[in-house]
């Protein structure tokens, strides 16, 4: 079978082999020791023609419940927001998606400027001075922030709130283990970090306090009162934030954060079973040269024309090798582009409005669901678009979610998976996409499952 992605004809092959001076293709591999050459056919999936492959993939997709077939009340770090249709059209421009990292600036100004604009957007949302070109995801961005803080302070103790996403804390533990750092977890109280316990734990060995706001429970943390505690001991304040909330909530920068990270998924990026998403990473100016990852800067060409280049590369692995600030070599350029297009579409008014919609709809849902017999809100702290619902004693969230699935709903996250004390508690997310009708019907369906 002649393959459609392989242009080499039999005639080409003959001519090229002649130029190279070989009689058979095997001669190209004569340098590979006989003992390690693979014989036979690898036991892999068989090839499919184009139509059969489309059908096969559709068949796999049909065995998944999705956001179109089911109304989602599931969040926990990954949200079902409306994705403006123009985003897919922009990221489908193959000049963007088939390009490599913009190492040749003269023919990569489009990508470089897109990243520069992304950095500008992240600075504006977070209230920080400098942002990089993006990280793998929010969880790895938080770990990189912790490593940066440990390096900058030459200290080894990291204090992280238990209200930070459990998976981000797991990644942090893996990373801390690698770097020989100590991780201390601080408990929560009424859905937010217990500040008395936090104050007790902070000491002169503390490299950083790591918090998330809105936190994993959806609650908005009181960042302004943490800031003086950690800065009093000259440690760094690291905040993980939900970017869609930053259109309406006070910026962590203004509240004294030194490093702000998060996941840009809410900004127009499909959930895609959790990846790829896009981490963002912003710092105060004095930490600029310690940042991991790529950074784009503005400059001029030989004719004085504005242009953009990758800059401050002396931090990076391809220059510094074992002394680099991080081993990261890629960024999530195409998804950073999603986020930029999202913010361009939404603009000043749209970001405020989507924030308000999330707040109003989730608060309506919280009221509605807390009226269900035996159910109540677990916490009274202010929240953005996600809240914790305590179900009647003995409820199994996973069993309820299986029932809700059959009724066309993706129920909320089972908090008992990560917090044994919160067994029977459901983390419910309500975005701007959920209508009053869907919320009301979800409440009835949930009641039927209790």
């Amino acid at each position: 079978m002649k393959h459609r992605y392989l242009p080499m004809t039999a005639q080409d092959r003959v001519e090229m082999m002649e130029t190279v001076g070989i009689q058979s293709i095997d001669e190209l591999f004569s340098d590979i020791p006989e003992a390690v050459r693979y014989q036979g056919t690898m036991p892999m999936s068989e090839p499919l023609d184009e139509y059969a492959l489309l059908r096969h993939m559709k068949g796999l997709a049909d065995r998944n419940a999705d956001f179109d077939s089911h109304a989602s009340f599931l969040g926990a770090g990954l949200y079902d927001h409306h994705i403006p249709v123009v985003i897919n059209h922009v990221i489908s421009r193959s000049e963007f998606y088939t390009a490599y990292t913009p190492y040749q600036p003269e023919i990569s100004q489009g990508e470089l400027q897109a990243i520069f604009e992304f950095q500008s957007y992240i600075c504006e949302l977070t209230g920080m001075k400098v942002a990089n070109a993006s990280m793998y995801d929010g969880a790895t961005a938080l770990s990189e922030a912790a490593v940066l803080a440990a390096g900058a302070t030459k200290r080894k103790k990291l204090i992280v709130s238990r209200t930070v996403h459990p998976e981000a804390r797991q990644v942090l533990r893996t990373s801390a283990n690698a770097w020989g750092l100590e991780v201390v977890e601080i408990d929560y109280r009424d859905g937010v970090t217990d500040q008395a316990k936090l104050a007790e734990a902070i000491d002169g060995d503390t490299a950083a306090v790591l918090m998330q706001s809105p936190n994993f429970f959806g609650s908005i943390e009181d960042l302004s009162s943490v800031e003086p505690l950690i800065h009093a001991v000259k440690g760094l304040f690291v905040v993980s934030a939900n970017p869609i909330a930053l259109g309406i909530l006070e910026t962590p920068g203004k509240l004294g954060a030194d490093i702000v990270v998060g996941d840009a998924q809410p900004l127009g990026i499909p959930a895609s079973l959790g990846g790829p998403t896009c981490g963002f990473f912003a710092v105060a100016e004095h930490l600029m040269r310690r940042m991991p990852g790529r950074i784009v800067g503005q400059t001029v060409d030989r004719n004085g024309k504005r242009g953009f280049v990758l800059t401050l590369q002396a931090r990076e692995q391809h220059i510094r090798r074992e002394k680099a600030t991080s081993n990261i070599c890629s960024n999530q350029a195409l998804l950073a582009l999603c986020a930029s297009v999202y913010l361009s579409v939404m603009g000043k008014e749209g970001m405020r409005e989507v924030g308000e919609l999330n707040i109003r709809k989730s608060h309506y849902a919280a009221n509605k669901l807390s009226e269900l017999t035996g159910a109540e809100l677990a916490f009274s702290s202010p929240f953005f678009n996600e809240f914790v619902l305590k179900l009647p004693e003995g409820s199994s969230v996973s069993a309820i979610n299986s029932k809700l699935l059959k009724e066309g709903y993706l129920g909320g996250y089972d908090l008992g998976r990560d917090y044994p004390e919160l067994a029977g508690h459901m983390l419910v997310a309500v975005t701007e996409k959920r209508s009053k009708n869907e919320i009301d019907q979800f409440a009835s369906a949930l009641e039927g499952c209790l």
Partner: protein
């Protein structure tokens, strides 16, 4: 001359908008401040552009036209495997049932996704000759780090303190950087004048502190390590493990496998070998494969098949290195890689590598009369050559690269590996036709002629791009990293 490209912020006019949001159909009697204490709300409004939808589309279309991708032309960027990115992969990744799904959905509602991941794990195991695969790492460097963390955990589980990672001087920069990030130290060993690992240097470097040797095979010089069996023996006898940097896997699919060469861990760059696009710098995916001794240390979770033929996530045992990324990996990239593998099948993938290697050898032979080829003989999917013969005309490799832009080509990788003077590293890939290769070769020959006769044309290149060479020193010295519109 065209006007300067605007920033999106510069297009903003108060009162314009491009968004359309669902209605607020819930009661709105209460003020926002009664729901959220005003101290938590923004004290100043967010400053973002106010533009119409047409502005957005024109702006980004304009940016895209100032960018060069594989679809624009030949992209022989060494070690990056810039092959054609099939369109069907983009389409299937956008199928709603694969794109709009949540990792925390009940397992019974993501069986199709889990089956895809399970099959991909098996296919990649077969391709690499490994016993198990984790799809979790987000990129090649992330895979390296994950693999080294497993190696470290393995040694620690045996009560051994092994902290040294050996890399050849031609290795990718990520190798030593990943070792540092895994809390390990790097030892760099020289290559022989044939571009191979120096066995004597390796023997001298290994010892009771050796955690691993990291090797790219074929190397960044495009050469297969002919003594790979001996290398593996030396490292294993010293108690170390072998890490395979899969960046150059496009040379060997179905021909030889890292597992058969003696490697214990391998990562693959799906955005290279499996054609999932590079995206202008990402997202990628860097799955890691391991031999059975390392299975207990795999990151959490992996996908397993149950007795009733359903699929589940397995969160592993106590020896796992833990989680390296949120959720289960870059699933959207895994979908594309899976579609690619199902398009070729095992025999097709072998043909991919054969053609990639023949293309590289053809180019090397045709360019040999014009440039110095430091390692003649057979190359694999890429080769290096030196531009030092042009220095006598005042022309450097960087100038050759910039001159190629004028002819509509993306230049090769330049000045890497560091071990070759005025280096150019050329990787044509299998998806390029003979005419494309010939066109590029003839252009290179012409540039050599220009260097000899009218060097200023080359030195001042590019002449046809929207901007000329940029002042990178100014960019680094006085960094302007955002537009400070806020």
């Amino acid at each position: 001359m065209k006007p300067e490209q605007s920033l999106i912020f510069e297009l903003s006019r108060p009162g314009r908008s491009a968004y359309s949001l669902p209605l607020c159909d819930v009661p709105q009697e209460e003020s926002l401040e009664s729901l959220i204490p005003s101290g938590l709300l923004r004290s100043e409004p967010v400053v973002l552009p106010e533009v119409s939808e047409v502005d957005v589309i024109r702006h980004y279309t304009s940016l895209s036209r100032r960018n060069f991708g594989v679809d624009n032309g030949f992209y022989p960027l060494g070690s990056c495997t810039m092959k054609y990115n099939p369109k069907i992969n983009e389409d299937v990744a956008r199928i709603v049932g694969l794109a709009k799904i949540h990792p925390y959905q009940p397992e019974e509602s993501i069986q199709g996704a889990l089956e895809l991941m399970y099959t991909l794990q098996n296919d990649l195991s077969a391709l690499t000759g490994m016993d198990a695969v984790s799809l979790q790492p987000a990129a090649g460097a992330h895979g390296e780090w994950t693999g080294l963390m497993m190696i470290r955990a393995y040694h620690e589980s045996r009560g051994e303190t092994r902290t040294k990672v050996i890399v050849p001087d031609s290795s990718h920069g990520t190798n030593p950087a990943s070792a540092s990030a895994a809390g390990l130290e790097t030892i760099t060993i020289p290559s022989t004048d044939k571009g191979m690992v120096d066995l004597e240097a390796l023997k001298a470097a290994v010892g009771s502190d050796t955690a691993a040797l990291m090797l790219t095979n074929p190397s960044t010089l495009g050469l297969f390590e002919t003594q790979i069996v001996e290398i593996a023996e030396i490292v294993h006898e010293a108690g170390g493990l072998l890490y395979y940097d899969g960046a150059n896997s496009n040379a060997i699919m179905g021909i030889t496998r890292p597992g058969d060469m003696g490697f214990d861990v391998v990562h693959l760059n799906l955005h290279k070998t499996m054609s999932t696009p590079h995206g202008g710098g990402g997202p990628g995916a860097g799955p890691v494969g391991v031999k059975s001794i390392l299975i207990p240390f795999l990151p959490q979770p992996t996908v397993v098949k149950n007795e009733d033929s359903s699929f589940s996530l397995d969160f592993g045992g106590p020896e796992s290195i833990g989680r390296v990324k949120a959720f289960y990996g870059n699933f959207g990239i895994l979908v594309r890689a899976y579609a690619y593998i199902r398009t070729y099948g095992p025999d097709g993938l072998r043909e991919v590598s054969e053609n990639a290697v023949l293309n590289a050898n053809y180019m090397m032979h045709r360019l040999a009369p014009y440039f110095e080829i430091p390692y003649p003989g057979v190359c694999k999917h890429e080769f290096v050559m030196s531009g030092k013969n042009l220095k006598q005309y005042g022309v450097r490799t960087l100038d050759v690269a910039k001159r190629l832009l004028d002819f509509g080509y993306h230049p090769p990788t330049v000045y890497f590996p560091l071990t070759v003077e005025e280096c150019m590293m050329i990787e044509p890939t299998e998806t390029e036709s003979k005419e494309t290769l010939d066109g590029f070769i003839n252009t290179m020959i012409q540039i050599v002629k220009e260097a000899q006769e009218t060097p200023e044309i080359v030195i001042n290149a590019p002449h046809t791009t929207e901007i000329s060479r940029l002042d990178e020193t100014q960019a680094a010295r006085k960094p302007v990293l955002n537009c400070s519109c806020g």
